[in-house]
Symmetry: C2
Subunit: 308 residues, 2 copies
Amino acid sequence: MIGERELIRRISEILGGVESDDCAVIDAGECYLVATTDMLHRQTDFPDIMTPWQIGWMAVAVNLSDIAAMGAKPAGVLIAAGLPPESDLYFIDELFSGFGDCAAYFGTLIIGGDTDSHQELTITGCALGFVKKDLVLRRRGARVGDLLCTTGTLGGAGGGLWAWKRGELQNKFIEKLLEPEPRLAEGQALAQSRAVTAMMDNSDGLALSLFDLAEVNRVGFQVSENKLPIAPGLAEMMGQEEAVNAVMSAGGDFELVFTVKPEGLEAARKACDLTVIGRVVEEGIWMEVEGERRRISPKGFEHIIGRR
Amino acid sequence: MIGERELIRRISEILGGVESDDCAVIDAGECYLVATTDMLHRQTDFPDIMTPWQIGWMAVAVNLSDIAAMGAKPAGVLIAAGLPPESDLYFIDELFSGFGDCAAYFGTLIIGGDTDSHQELTITGCALGFVKKDLVLRRRGARVGDLLCTTGTLGGAGGGLWAWKRGELQNKFIEKLLEPEPRLAEGQALAQSRAVTAMMDNSDGLALSLFDLAEVNRVGFQVSENKLPIAPGLAEMMGQEEAVNAVMSAGGDFELVFTVKPEGLEAARKACDLTVIGRVVEEGIWMEVEGERRRISPKGFEHIIGRR
């Protein structure tokens, strides 16, 4: 089978070019309607330690993260659920409670859907949102000299994956992996700040986000390793090098990665907690480690959870 | 596993009640945004005679039919495609051309999506549309005395299924089954006519549509068998009784079933070709055959294609 990126390029050609944002953008009068869909399924996306409630939460959260990345306010989520024949009422109740609880936690609702019998548990979410036209945040817009920023801390989900693979199921990072919290409030506040020039989520890891932003904007990035807000305790657990790998390529963190014009940094900081991790440069994706510049590779394909 | 209707009732309870329309309805200023999702997969929804292009067409068409049923104009379609590892470039090109061609044929676009590797080909579409608030058509609104109407002809898809099962692959009804044409222009024109009181599509067969409309509106329906616009040639092919069964329960026709206030019939007829097939009564779902009234049963679960 062809690679994911080649596939997307080919599909884009067939369908006449799709702008590469976290969401599709549709004119809706004063606002843009933004819309996204993500298909998740048992084998690839739901480690067997996940409870049905966590599966439900996850399926909604990954879609809402795309809404957050546009600076939009969620307007509803549709869920199509392909349920295996052996699903019992406990499973169904917990799964759908997970959908509903995640939506409600982020101020929205499950507004509709479809159910179907399916050999492998398969859940496709579709999240909708609205954002004022002059506030919408897109992947395109970063300029050389802008500051590269992230919300929250990084690598926690990768730490959860690491712990899970070692059977350490009580590890605090597991929850970070299985119950992600998309940055909806932060996305909207950053949009309001008018300081952000480009934004996307980091669901496939920071490295892939940087490669995507670099391609769309025809720029490069330089990240400072010592500025990365590595999740507290992560380096102690798995070592500094592995912790940085988790940040760059494990995926599953669902933070926002964005660029800010230098004169807007104060406004952006008022909008939400953020960390400046680097800056937009002419070309290349670089990590600055102890004064040295190293090339970052796209990697990030080994993730178990998270896709754009 | 529990039945589909019980499942939907349970889910609706967990999620706090979802209005049973073909689409979810969201406030979008002057308009309503309407949104729907349908998950289709190889084993249940794509007979092996379907070409990849037809699979693509079908996946978009079933979603657009729900937009049509609200009287809305489509604003875009998202497609999440879980592709089996053995998918070659021919398959992918044809499948995605089918998505794009169906969307374009009905005046809209594939605006985004997600691709994923999946053991069984699984396609979830999500269609969006807009409709002026005072024009939106819902399942609720039918009153006793209203006329029951349908667009187009009925039973053709069931005829295709019948022919396919008998290996008659050149049969003219096969195309009706595999390349459905949702009634988008008709839905919008009927909304503009302001004559329609309730509407839905008949994708699971006329009988199930009537049961759904009856439940939402707390009314009944009486259909006249001799008024049914049975697809030309269908009764000759499979006999009158089987043809009526195809109309009532085979599914896959994707026509609009709607009720019209008697004084609005002329306006509705100006909007599109329609057939009055019966009327709204106090209770029960009845078929009038040669002056006799027989109860119609919900059946309709044997369909291979089409879901709400």
